[in-house]
Symmetry: C2
Subunit: 377 residues, 2 copies
């Protein structure tokens, strides 16, 4: 029913092959939860016209939260992922899990109140964090820029403060990949979302689904060896990592070595936007290094779209030029013939929409609907 098309009980019996009694009981239960709602009447076939029902995205609401190093965006959406209300605020992730998550909970409650929705209408909370997360448990795994967060029970802490609703957690890049895919490329089966900011990472959509790998670390491109990484020391302790030569801070350092003081990544973007040729050349060089690594990814995964996001994508022209130059030169024609390399379009919203999408996909999965029906029966 998720396509939103209204159907009658008879149509559902024919479509599913389920028994009349089963369909009747499920429709009643779903009407009870509000996930289905009456939707006009079908054309009469003689006698009383059979009622039609349609998926009702307004039945429940979802909270999506996107936490960065220094900010939080929290959004309230319906079950189709449409944003009802949103709030962005500065928030220092290094304050530790309890103060940060309590703040997210307060914002979530304020958004619910402002939209006139009750807490028991909340289908779940999705949270994106700026570091590695074990998705199955929702616990951060040795996150480098999040002191005090390692192995913290994020779902437990948040759920207990929001009426026990489901809480799902993933890293910010996977969340952005889900958001960009759901919003702009729902028909694309093979997509890579690459974030270029303080760190560098990727979210991989393969056969239409986010792939996380065995330990959930899939897409962790920041510490792959860059072709010209040489012996540049990386924060991870290794040398020559992609992040050490092509992240925002790495480009700022390379400019400093040429006596150009960009300050930080935002300063670098401002310089590039003002047309500074040293800055744009440095960003393009970083794009080339990222392109070398992405060329291998293209050979390995054969995506049809690579989306480049993160703060550096605000200098998209220079960054994409470097990436495209190398990927198109280095990959086989079969893999690049239909390959698009584009800048992210959902901007600051990709994270919260993706976090909400993660919860919606979970809440409306066959298993979860079954569970809800069983427990409400």
């Amino acid at each position: 029913m998720r396509d939103g098309k209204p159907r009658t009980r008879a149509e559902l019996i024919q479509l599913t092959g389920l028994a009349r009694s089963t369909v009747g009981a499920r429709v009643d239960a779903l009407l009870g939860t509000g996930l289905l709602a009456p939707s006009g009447e079908a054309a009469s076939t003689g006698g009383r016209p059979p009622a039609r029902f349609a998926f009702n995205p307004d039945a429940r609401v979802v909270i999506g939260a996107d936490l960065g190093a220094t900010h939080a965006i929290v959004a309230l959406t319906d079950l189709s992922g449409r944003v009802i209300a949103e709030r962005a605020e500065p928030l220092d992730i290094t304050l530790g899990p309890k103060p940060v998550l309590d703040r997210v909970v307060r914002t979530a409650k304020a958004l619910l109140r402002s939209a006139g929705r009750r807490q028991d209408e909340l289908a779940g909370v999705g949270i994106g964090l700026p570091g590695p997360v074990e998705h199955s448990s929702g616990r951060p795994a040795l996150p480098p820029i999040m002191p005090g967060w390692d192995d913290f029970d994020v779902p437990g802490h948040v759920s207990s403060r929001l009426g026990g609703c489901p809480v799902l957690v993933d890293n910010d890049v996977n969340i952005m990949a889900l958001g960009e895919h759901a919003t702009i490329y729902p028909e694309v089966d093979h997509l890579m979302f690459v974030k270029v900011a303080t760190g560098i990472g990727a979210g991989i959509i393969s056969d239409g689904r986010l792939t996380r790998g065995a330990q959930g670390s899939a897409g962790d491109l920041g510490h792959v060896a860059a072709p010209h990484g040489g012996d540049v020391r990386c924060t991870c302790g290794n040398v020559g990592c992609l992040e050490a030569v092509a992240s925002g801070p790495a480009i700022v350092r390379s400019l400093a070595a040429q006596s150009v003081d960009a300050g930080d990544s935002r300063g670098l973007i401002s310089l590039a936007k003002s047309g500074d040729t040293v800055a744009t050349a440095a960003i393009r060089d970083a794009g080339r290094e990222i392109g070398e690594v992405l060329a291998t990814c293209v050979s390995l995964l054969n995506p049809s779209v690579i989306v480049v996001g993160g703060i550096l994508a605000q200098a998209a022209e220079s960054l994409l030029a470097g990436i495209r130059e190398v990927v198109y030169r280095r990959s086989l024609p079969l893999a690049t013939g239909d390959l698009q390399i584009v800048a992210a379009r959902t901007g600051d919203h990709a994270g919260v929409i993706g976090a909400a999408t993660m919860v919606i996909q979970h809440a409306l999965s066959a298993e979860q609907v079954e569970l809800a029906l069983t427990s409400s029966a």
Copy 2:
């Protein structure tokens, strides 16, 4: 029912929620096709004991064919992938598609005859080819070592000679990945199979399923830039490709430059097995180059098993030593903590078992069973 466990009609009604009439009609239809067979009687609940049915892997047979540059292996299997009969023979792929495929068809018919099975019991044919294939159409796509095969309608040619049965085609590496996964690692969700031979390529199992990418070229690692590839010219026209420095022929060339004449890949393996230190060192160096590329793959995909196959895996000790050395040094601890890097174990059989597995997965997919039931109704 594919788990092989016998069930009654009443159990199926309860498990599926389908109407009694639907279950009855489907069980009758499946009994008619032979895919289900009676399997003992359930414990009496008073009155006539209800009959039990189980999946019958012997109901149909499958042909798996693995074609290399100079050989063909053709096997007859049941619907569980068990090999009933197999034949290996020299076959020159450069003879072109019609002579080669007609020979495969003759061998398939001979295997059917020898096993006393009829052509109408054939559920389908799976074929692995030593070059890129567009899986959706089954047509080779500019295969470098297969003159005359480009865009040839392999399924059409074979199907018309075997009673119109389904014919599925893929490249040899994907087929080997399916075979090794089905046979040795059925419980592993994230696996990479890497073939090191005349060419270098990978088959990727992600979330339990083979992933082919947008154009079916996923896993094409042979022409990725090798870190020490420099300006070594590759057969593809580019320079510094992995195949140009780490394939069998590349290692043979590097030995020749050190005045050691290995002849070909088989000669190289013999030298290594005899303990020749120049040969083992060259193979280990090739392993290191492959390891650099695989380290990027590990960061990107986070597999829990990497299987190394192809003729060079016969010198597994040296090859794996080089690969492991680099992958474990270069990848993040989270991704390599539980990562196994092992030699292929199905050996020459992986290809035919994988080709048969591809057909079995297709034939027993919900859609295909539905189609068969509809057309037999």
